[in-house]
Amino acid sequence: MLLARTADNLFWLARYVERAENTARILDAATRLSSLPAGYGGSSNEWMSAVAATGGLARYKELYDDESHRSVIDFLAFSPNNPSSIRTCIEIARSNARAVRTAITAEMWDSINGAWLELKQFPSDGMTRPRLNELLTFVKEASLRFDGSAYRTMLRNDAYYFARLGSYLERADATSRILDVKYHVLLPEGEPVGGSLDYFQWSSILRSVSALTAYHWVYRQNLRPWLVADLLILRREMPRSLTSCYENLTRFLDEIARDYGQQGKSQRQARATFARLENTDINAVFAGGMHEFLLSIIAENNRLGAAIADQYLT
C-alpha cells in the first residue's frame, strides 16, 4: 500500500525520466539525419518532424517564428516552456523524486539528483555540435542509470510497479508518436527493394528508439519499411515495441491487482489493448491504415493513463 500521492509521484518520476531519454534520442536522430546531404534523404524539415515526434508542434509554433535547428535544439533540450524538453523533464523528475525520497532507493535518488546537478553544466547558449552530443549521451546514460538502479535496488512491491507503469506507458506513447510522424515513409506499396533513399529515414527511426542493432538480429536482412513497423509495433521481444510495452503494462497492473486483491478499469483497459496488439499482424495494420492505427493507440495510451490516475493516484 502506498500513499496515493506517492504512487503519483513515482509514476510521473519514471515517466519524465523516460521522456527525457526519448527526447534526447529523437534529437539525436534528427541531428544525424539533417547532417546528411539532401540526396540521402536528409531534408530541412527533419527538425520539425523531431518536434512533432515529441508531440510539441503546437507549443513550438507559439514560441518560435522560425524552423531553424537552433530553435529546435533550444526547444527540445532547454526550453522551460516545453513540458517535454530535456531540462523540463529532468527538473520535474527530480522534483517528483524529492517529494518521494522515502519511496525510492538511495541509488535512484543519487542518479536523478546527480543528473539534475550535472545538467546545469550545459548552458543553452553557445551550444556547439560536440557539446550537444555530450549532452545527449549524458541524458541517455542518466536514464539508463536511473532505470538500472530502480531495477537493481527497489523492493518488488507496489512502489516498483507504479514506477514501471510510468516508464512503459511513456515508452508506448513515444514509440507510437515517433512512428506516426514517419508513417508515410513506412508504407509498403510500390517500394522497390533495397537502395531506397528512405533507407536513412528508416534507420533514423530505429536509431531514435535504439533499435538498429535489434532489427538486424531479429530479421537478419536489410531494412524494409514494413519490417521496421513490425518490429516497433508488434514484436514482443523488442523492448520498445507497443506489444512489449503493453505486455509489461498488463503484467505490472496485474501485480498491483494481485497485491491489492482487486481488479479495475485500468487492468481491463490494458488487457484490451494488449489483446488487440497480439491478435493483429503488420499486414492488417497496413490494410486498416497505419496512421489511424497509431492514432487509436495514442488515444488508448491516454485513456489508460487516465484510468490509472483515477483508480490509484488520487
Binding site: M1, L3, A4, T6, A7, R98, T102, D158, Y260, T314
Partner: protein
C-alpha cells in the same frame, strides 16, 4: 571584559585535554592540503545526498548546504553522563509543566510562574485546556541547546519543545565522517548515534492511543518540499520506515484521521508533525492554512490520534518561561536542577530592566519570542546607534525581552581554510520521551560559528556543523579489539578460455 574562552582541546600553553589526544595527533599528521581536499569531498557528498536547507527571505539561496567542519568535537563519557542526566530531568520538567498548565494549573496558583506569562503567551493554546494528551506526554521530541563555558560548566541556552530540527545533520555528519576518515573511527571508541531512528520510532509507537488496532500507523507530517527542513523530514520518514505525508494526504472522518492510499483510506494513529501549531487545522487555527488537515483537532480531542509534539508546547520553550526553568524543576520534583540556566535578567522586572539598560554594551538581549538568531542585540559587537535603537525598543516593551551576559562560549579546533583555529560552538542533543522511558543517543548536533570571534552559530546566519563524538570508555586510549576475518575462499570466476572460444564461434556464424 571579554576573557579568553575555554578551548575544548587545548590547555593554556601547549597542553592537550586527554579527550582530544587522538584528534590532536590526527591534525598534526594531516597537512592542510589533505584537510582541504577532504572538506571539499565532504561538501560534494552532502550535495550529492541532497542534504540541503533553505533560508527564508533569500530568493537565491534555495537549497544551500550547511558548511561542515571536518574536525570532530569530542566529549568524554563522564561529561556525557552528567549531561544526559540533566537533560532527562529538564525534559521531564517541561512535560510536567505543560501537563499542569493545560490541566490543574497548580504552578500558577502557587505563584511560581506568573499567570500572564502563560495565558498571554502567543504559543499558549486555550484549545488544549482539559484535552487528554495520549500518555500525558507533551514533548516526546526535544532538542536542548547547550553551551559550555569551562571544563565543568554546561548551561542550557534554550529549550526547543516544538519541532526541533537538526537531527538529520547529527546522523549524516557521522556517516560522512566515517566515509572520509575510517581510520579515526577504528582508533577511537566512539559511541554510535545511528540507532536514533529506531529509538524515535519506539518513542512514537509508545504514544499510540488506546483505540489503535494492531500495529500503530505512524506518519510524518511535513509542510512539503519547499519547507526549509524538508530534507530532514524525508530523511527521517525514510529511516523510520513511515509514510511522509502532507496535509492533503490526510482527512478526518468520524473524529478519526485517515490517509489516502492506493488502496483507499487507512487509519493513522500517531502523527510526528513537523508543521507549526497554527497550520495544523484550518477549522481551529489559521483558516487560510492549506498545509493542515481540517478536523484534525477534533480527532485529537477525541483521543483517536497522538500528535508529536502535542499542540501548545511552544509556551514551554519560550524565552520568558525559560528563565523560570530552575523553579519549575524544583516545584515538580523537589530536586536541584542538574543543568543550569545561563544567568538571565527578566526585563519585565524593574530592577532587572534598570541593570540591563545600564549595561547594554556588555549584554546579549533577546526577544522573548524570537528564534534562529533573529532580532537580538549582541552588546559588545554592536555600534552605538544599534544599541540606542535597541534601548528604545526595550523601554517601550520590556516584557518582550530578556538579557544574558555575553558568555565566553567554549571553542573547538576548526578547519578554516588556511589553518586550524578555535571557533565557538554549541551543542543540541536530542531527547526522546516515550510512554516507557526517556531515550537520548550519545551525541547531538554541534553547531560552530565559522567566522572568527562570532558567537552566532545558527545555520541561517552562516554557522556550520561538526560531528560530535562521545567517547565510549572513561579514559579511552583508542585500542579496539580486532577479530581475524574468516577466509571463505575465493569466489567463482568465469572460465575464461572457454567463453572466449564459444563467443568467437557464434560470432563467426553470423
Amino acid at each position: 571584559m571579554v576573557t579568553t574562552p575555554f578551548d575544548e582541546m587545548t590547555i593554556a600553553g601547549d597542553g592537550c585535554r586527554p579527550a582530544y589526544n587522538l584528534v590532536k595527533a590526527w591534525l598534526e599528521e594531516n597537512d592542510l592540503d589533505t584537510l582541504r581536499h577532504r572538506s571539499h569531498e565532504a561538501e560534494l557528498l552532502f550535495r550529492r545526498i541532497g542534504i540541503t536547507f533553505a533560508v527564508y527571505g533569500q530568493a537565491e539561496a534555495e537549497e544551500r548546504i550547511i558548511p561542515f567542519d571536518v574536525v570532530p568535537r569530542v566529549l568524554t563519557s563522564g561529561e556525557w553522563h552528567r549531561l544526559s542526566q540533566g537533560l532527562t530531568q529538564r525534559v521531564r520538567a517541561l512535560n510536567a509543566f505543560l501537563a499542569d498548565i493545560y490541566g490543574k494549573g497548580e504552578i500558577l496558583r502557587a505563584g511560581v510562574v506568573p499567570e500572564d506569562l502563560v495565558y498571554q503567551n502567543p504559543y499558549f493554546r486555550p484549545e488544549m485546556i482539559g484535552l487528554k494528551v495520549p500518555r500525558s506526554i507533551y514533548v516526546p521530541i526535544s532538542g536542548i541547546d547547550i553551551v559550555r563555558v569551562d571544563a565543568e560548566t554546561f548551561y542550557v541556552l534554550e529549550d526547543n519543545a516544538r519541532t526541533p530540527s537538526g537531527v538529520s545533520y547529527m546522523l549524516e555528519n557521522r556517516e560522512v565522517m566515517m566515509r572520509l576518515f575510517p581510520d579515526l573511527f577504528s582508533e577511537h571508541r566512539i559511541a554510535p548515534v545511528e540507532n536514533y531512528p529506531d529509538e524515535l520510532l519506539q518513542t512514537l509507537q509508545s504514544l499510540a492511543p488506546d483505540s489503535t488496532r494492531g500495529e500503530p500507523n505512524v506518519v510524518l507530517l511535513t509542510p512539503g518540499q519547499f519547507n526549509s527542513a524538508y530534507y530532514e523530514h524525508s530523511f527521517l520518514a525514510d529511516r523510520l520506515g513511515v509514510e511522509l505525508v502532507e496535509g492533503r494526504d490526510l482527512f478526518v472522518r468520524d473524529a478519526t484521521v485517515f490517509m489516502r492510499t492506493t488502496q483507499g483510506p487507512k487509519r493513522v494513529d500517531v502523527i510526528y508533525r513537523r508543521l507549526d501549531d497554527e497550520f495544523l487545522d484550518p477549522l481551529v487555527f489559521r483558516p487560510d492554512s492549506i498545509l493542515g488537515v481540517p478536523g484534525l483537532m477534533s480527532a485529537y480531542r477525541a483521543g483517536n490520534v497522538a500528535l508529536a509534539n502535542a499542540v501548545g508546547t511552544g509556551v514551554a520553550d519560550d524565552k520568558a518561561i525559560y528563565t523560570y526553568m530552575p523553579e519549575i524543576v524544583r516545584f515538580y520534583f523537589g530536586e536541584e536542577p542538574i543543568l543550569k540556566n545561563v544567568p538571565t535578567w527578566r526585563c519585565r522586572e524593574p530592577e532587572a530592566l534598570a541593570y540591563v539598560l545600564d549595561h547594554l554594551d556588555e549584554l546579549v538581549v533577546k526577544e522573548v519570542s524570537g528564534s534562529g538568531g533573529y532580532g537580538m542585540l549582541v552588546g559588545p559587537k554592536a555600534d552605538k546607534e544599534t544599541i540606542e535603537t535597541f534601548r528604545a525598543k526595550l523601554k517601550a516593551k520590556p516584557d518582550e525581552f530578556i538579557a544574558q551576559p555575553t558568555l565566553a562560549l567554549s571553542t573547538c579546533p576548526t578547519f578554516v581554510g588556511d589553518g586550524i583555529a578555535p571557533r565557538h560552538v554549541d551543542l543540541r542533543p536530542f531527547v526522546l520521551t516515550g510512554a516507557d522511558r526517556v531515550r537520548i543517543v550519545p551525541g547531538g548536533l554541534t553547531r560552530v560559528a565559522m567566522r572568527e570571534g562570532s558567537l552566532v552559530v545558527n545555520s541561517s546566519q552562516g554557522g556550520g556543523t561538526k560531528d560530535t563524538w562521545v567517547l565510549d570508555a572513561p579514559d579511552d586510549t583508542g585500542a579496539t579489539p580486532s577479530s581475524a576475518p574468516v577466509d571463505a575462499g575465493a569466489s567463482q570466476s568465469q572460465p575464461q578460455a572457454q567463453t572466449t572460444a564459444s563467443q568467437s564461434q557464434s560470432q563467426g556464424q553470423n
